[in-house]
């Protein structure tokens, strides 16, 4: 699957692979030994956040689990 930042797709794949492994083999099995994906995530995020700013995607300040106050602006 492609990233919204064309240059970020490979970094995204690397992170997704790390996460999927950790999620099924550690997190769901109650292993709290820590997240091995922090570094890959940081590299991926540096790339994707830049792409989001360039494309003006309105994600800033959006509350977790959705807006619960006013109607979203168009």
């Amino acid at each position: 699957m492609n990233s919204v930042g064309e240059a970020c797709t490979e970094l995204k794949r690397e992170y997704d692979q790390c996460f999927n492994s950790w999620f099924s083999e550690k997190f769901l099995k109650g292993d709290r030994s820590g997240d091995p994906c922090t570094e890959t995530f940081k590299k991926y995020q540096r790339c994707v956040q830049k792409a989001i700013k360039e494309k003006d995607i309105p994600i800033d300040g959006v509350e977790f689990m959705g807006p619960i106050k006013d109607k979203p602006e168009s």
Binding site: N20, L28, I59, P72, S74
Partner: protein, 230 residues
């Protein structure tokens, strides 16, 4: 991201369904209950890996923007999706400039690995005046049948366009039903892939003594009820 960190402290208080009633003052409502014949841990693995699949050609990009394991061991995530904005012919005529931009969709989720629940909230960030669709899903292990997972899906569809809100909402509801059927097929497709990848003895369902992977089946248990919201 600091905003999300502050708010994740409140993640235990799941927004009540009625919170969305505060701003959706007119619109259409959708609800369905589906039984998935796969264990919860596999459904969750499939949930993260479901794109791309043969039924998701309208999903153009997918990115994880945030992940956090809270002190109470809940996994919070935020994903950004971009989707094509397919409107019916008459709407393309009326709203040509909306066709130029894809739809940005946020999907926030909370995994509770103890209660075996996944709650997701998905909504569009743009084209909101034309139509806003908010979807809430709850995936939970079927306690009476641990090799099954229950999915409860709700959606609120509203439009603020003067004079055209009703046909737009009807179109939105119809498109939502089509998309949720595709979403189920996409999830089943991914579940099949996961189950054929995993050696039978590692399928990991403690209650299962079978050695063959279970083919995932989604069985609707109740008819979908598109109720008029007002």
């Amino acid at each position: 991201m600091s905003t999300l960190k502050q708010m994740s402290a409140n993640a235990k208080t799941y927004p009540l369904l009625r919170d969305f009633c505060l701003y959706v003052d007119m619109g259409r409502y959708f609800h369905s209950e589906i039984d998935i014949k796969s264990p919860w841990h596999q459904v969750l693995a499939a949930f993260w890996r479901r794109y791309p699949n043969p039924y998701s050609t309208h999903v153009l990009t997918e990115d994880v923007l945030y992940r956090e394991v809270t002190p109470s061991n809940h996994l919070l995530s935020r994903r950004l999706l971009t989707k094509t904005n397919r409107l019916p012919g008459w709407a393309e005529h009326v709203f040509p400039r909306h066709m130029a931009r894809a739809v940005y969709v946020l999907e926030d989720s909370i995994v509770d690995p103890h209660a075996h629940t996944l709650i997701t909230k998905t909504w569009n960030l743009n084209h909101n005046k034309l139509m806003t669709v908010v979807e809430r899903c709850l995936f939970e292990e079927d306690r009476s049948r641990p090799s099954w997972t229950k999915l409860s899906r709700e959606a609120w569809i509203s439009s603020a366009i003067y004079g055209l809100a009703r046909p737009i909402q009807e179109f939105g509801l119809s498109r939502f039903k089509t998309n949720q059927a595709k979403a189920m097929k996409g999830l089943e497709y991914t579940l099949s892939k996961i189950q054929t990848e995993t050696p039978p003895h590692l399928l990991g369902d403690e209650s299962s003594e079978k050695h063959k992977p279970l083919p995932p089946q989604a069985t609707p248990t109740a008819t979908q009820k598109p109720e008029q919201f007002i």
